[in-house]
């Protein structure tokens, strides 16, 4: 759409093919960064007369940006620690599975571009901090603007940077460079953020941004104090300070009181739902079931940590230690970034992605320090072997890194203790005097180098495996291995192709929101709710419809002008993420808006069942009926392979819907709403005869007025 109509139309585009009948104000609810980037790349490439279609550009945007993100990681780590660490971190980021999961070719989601923007913004911030140049501060603000355009996660930046500034002030590391790094960023950044339509005035109104303003004010106060200190003698300074403090505190109280009154007046205290659910992990499940239902928003388990960042998980603490060794502004920023990222990724699996660059950087630092020590020890030892003089002890680079060798040696001991017991004796020779150089004996360093390389090798193998197995399969086509080889389940595409060929262009399709984007893209039909999930009531309406008995559901769908209903059913082949498993979420979300849907009605003794012991409400609801209609005909008993038992209600007829299509493995089932028959008073016989001629359904159906 963007390439066809240009950018101005995009801003005003009102998408009416999704979220029928509300449509969607694309300009106001979409983060434009991703689309604009892809659009501009496409335009640029076409201007060079390379004919690439828009889809190709979209598909490859993600990998290109992940490559650039790797470069940005190198820059960031170089600013924090040095080129060796930078290279290491970049290499690690290039392979980490968590990032690969979001940047496979074809994954055209916001995060592909956003992570690059995140790392680049941080790099520019650290660079400004280190050099104090206003030029980089401007670049920093522009990069922040790009981040705001791309992803809702930009609030992470706008809160992390103030926290870091505060940390620097509190630990006494205030300098004028800090001021130059932070103050222009806040002003320019807020302005630029307000430019993006999605954010708009939220940039100054919501609590998410207050931290930046607060720290801005604090920074000014501190700067002013330092300035006065430079002008006055100490005695006078004390006098001035007392005066200023009393006045300042009074003003502060007044301002804070006003702020608190403003903020407390809004029920959520000004934070948006997403941020609240991040800060308080239990918030979402209490108030907004839809956020809680997305599987990526659940807290991650320990195995998923290991799967996603693998070896980095134990290199990171080592990196933290080595960051403290010369504690500069930049390395304290790294540590802060990592700690907050760990906290937030503990709340939501999806934020593991934010943790990934932090973990990579810190592990890069750890690894490079470790390698530094090892190679230096090896060089030193080797040269000692050839030349016995103690003169070598005073080689310059050894003295510089003397302090840093103490802690890496501790890391060494932790790693080696598991592998090589003898080494622990050599570790005890810690540097007590300044001049005395502590270097690991030759065998130890060679062994540890080899082991570290082996560790890296494992990491590479794991990353490649994870990328191939877990993250590469397109989710539309499923595969499974059987004796004859790879068996492909192409049901989704089959269903969408059927939809696009056999229905009218204007027909509306209702399904659960997971399939919204796919339906719009592949079947080219209007859907009711899709993955954007911006309107909870609308989704709740669909959820209620799925949980109601047939007649009520029919009425709800009819009011939305729905013609076709689509459900995903895995019972025949054992596909576990089908609609019956998601059904409880539909009940919860529907119940959140429409109180007549109560979750306990669908559970028997608190357990979710669909077999003979299920509640009547469950057995009568639309979802059950649509999924299991004619299911007994497959194997005579109705054994559901996913749930592992026979279903409850086996033989039933649908009164308000007719089945129009079921895919080859019964995975997608499409039903059509039966049109409401015009009521003719009396004359039932006439009805029967006319309906007999027009009936095209299978024989054996009972006649009823809806037919």
């Amino acid at each position: 759409f963007l390439s066809k109509n240009g950018i101005y139309e995009f801003w005003n585009w009102f998408d009416d093919r999704t979220w029928y009948p509300l449509g969607r104000v694309i300009g106001g609810t979409v983060y434009p960064g991703l689309t604009l980037t892809a659009g501009s790349i496409w335009w640029f490439v076409n201007a060079l007369n390379i004919p690439l279609s828009v889809e190709t550009v979209c598909v490859f945007t993600a990998p290109i940006f992940s490559a650039i993100a790797s470069w940005a990681t190198y820059l960031l780590t170089k600013e924090a620690k040095g080129t060796g660490a930078g290279l290491m971190a970049a290499a690690i980021l290039a392979m980490v599975p968590s990032y690969i999961s979001r940047s496979v070719a074809g994954s055209y989601d916001n995060e592909a571009v956003a992570i690059f923007a995140l790392v680049f913004t941080f790099y520019l911030y650290v660079k400004t901090l280190n050099t104090g140049s206003l030029f980089y501060a401007t670049l920093n603000a522009l990069s922040y603007f790009y981040m705001v355009c791309s992803w809702g996660g930009y609030t992470f930046i706008i809160n992390l940077i103030p926290m870091h500034v505060l940390l620097c002030i509190v630990t006494g590391r205030y300098s004028s460079r800090l001021y130059i790094a932070y103050a222009p960023l806040v002003i320019l950044g807020t302005l630029l953020a307000a430019l993006v339509p999605v954010v708009g005035f939220n940039a100054v109104l919501t609590s998410e941004h207050f931290a930046s303003f607060l720290v801005f004010i604090i920074l000014h106060v501190v700067a002013f104090v330092y300035y006065i200190k430079g002008l006055l003698t100490p005695r006078l300074f004390k006098m001035a300070m007392t005066l200023v403090i009393t006045v300042g505190l009074a003003v502060c109280f007044a301002v804070v009181a006003i702020l608190v009154a403003l903020v407390a007046s809004s029920p959520t205290k000004g934070w948006s739902g997403r941020s609240l659910s991040l800060l308080d992990p239990t918030y979402a499940s209490k108030y907004i079931p839809i956020i809680a239902s997305v599987s990526e928003h659940q807290p991650p388990t320990w195995p998923s940590y290991f799967m996603d960042i693998n070896v980095l998980a134990f290199l990171v603490p080592a990196g933290i230690i080595s960051c403290f060794l010369p504690l500069s502004d930049a390395s304290s920023f790294m540590v802060l970034y990592l700690v907050t990222a760990v906290y937030f990724s503990g709340v939501m699996v999806r934020l593991m992605l934010v943790l990934a660059p932090a973990a990579c950087i810190l592990s890069g630092i750890a690894l490079s320090s470790a390698f530094d020590v090892l190679t230096r020890s090896m060089k030193f030892q080797l040269s000692k072997l050839f030349d016995d003089g103690p003169a070598i002890v005073r080689s310059s680079k050894n003295e510089k890194t003397e302090k840093s060798e103490a802690a890496p040696k501790e890391k060494q001991s932790k790693k080696n203790r598991r592998k090589d017991k003898e080494v622990t004796e050599s570790v005890s020779v810690k540097p007590k005097k300044e001049k005395r150089l502590s270097v690991l004996p030759l065998e130890a360093s060679i062994v540890s180098t080899l082991l570290l390389i082996a560790l890296g090798g494992f990491y590479v193998v794991h990353c490649v495996w994870a990328a191939a197995e877990a993250y590469s399969a397109p989710s539309i086509v499923l595969t499974s291995r059987s004796r004859e080889g790879l068996h492909v389940f192409d049901d989704f595409r089959e269903a969408y192709a059927w939809l696009s060929h056999n229905t009218d262009v204007d027909d509306k399709v209702a399904s659960w929101w997971d399939y919204g984007y796919q339906t719009t893209a592949m079947a080219n039909r209007t859907v009711i709710v899709d993955n954007n999930t911006w309107n909870n009531t609308h989704i709740a309406t669909v959820g209620t419809a799925m949980s109601s008995p047939e007649k009520a559901a029919w009425e709800i769908f009819d009011s939305l002008d729905v013609k076709y209903v689509l459900v995903v059913f895995g019972g025949l082949v054992g596909y576990p993420s089908d609609d019956i498993n998601k059904f409880l979420w539909m009940v919860r979300i529907g119940g959140g808006e429409f109180p007549h849907i109560k979750e306990p009605d669908y559970l028997r003794d608190g357990q979710y069942r669909v077999d003979a012991q299920a509640t009547p409400t469950m057995l009568n609801c639309l979802m059950y009926k649509l999924c299991y209609y004619r299911f007994v005909e497959t194997d005579g008993k109705g054994f559901d392979r996913v749930r592992g038992y026979e279903i409850g209600k086996k033989h039933f007829k649908l009164t308000h819907f007719e089945e129009v299509f079921t895919t080859h493995h019964w995975m997608v089932r499409i039903y059509k709403l039966k049109p409401q028959k015009n009521r003719i008073r009396g004359k039932l016989k006439k009805l029967k005869s006319s309906s007999k001629t027009s009936s095209t359904l299978a024989a054996g159906r009972k006649k009823n007025p809806w037919q």
Binding site: L134, F135, I187, L191, A240
Partner: protein, 103 residues
């Protein structure tokens, strides 16, 4: 307080000019806030951009001052021309954004 003014008078002239500029910018911002308090914040974006532009120029002025100040050890090897060029660049970007946001 008199010692404060005495010590302040000792600062070199060009720094004082920058200080004056900063004070002017802040004063303009205050005037805008008062105006909004009186008239009401209807085109909020104009208000926002106006106030932020004032504060922005103030901040940039302070940054320039920091960089140009000869007493400041960290910026010893930063030539003042470079500092000024940076200042101009940032102001350009700032005003571009503001003008975009104003209407």
């Amino acid at each position: 307080i008199q010692s404060l003014t005495k010590a302040y008078a000792a600062t070199p002239t060009n720094l004082k000019i920058i200080d004056l500029y900063v004070v002017f910018a802040v004063a303009t911002a205050l005037v805008q806030v008062v105006y909004m308090g009186i008239v009401g914040s209807f085109p909020f974006n104009s208000f926002l951009s106006g106030v932020l532009s004032c504060i922005g120029t103030a901040v940039l002025g302070v940054c320039l001052r920091i960089q140009v100040n000869k007493d400041n050890k960290e910026f010893k090897d930063l030539p003042p021309e470079r500092a000024f060029a940076d200042f101009v660049l940032c102001n350009l970007v700032l005003h571009l954004v503001i003008m975009n946001f104003l209407g």
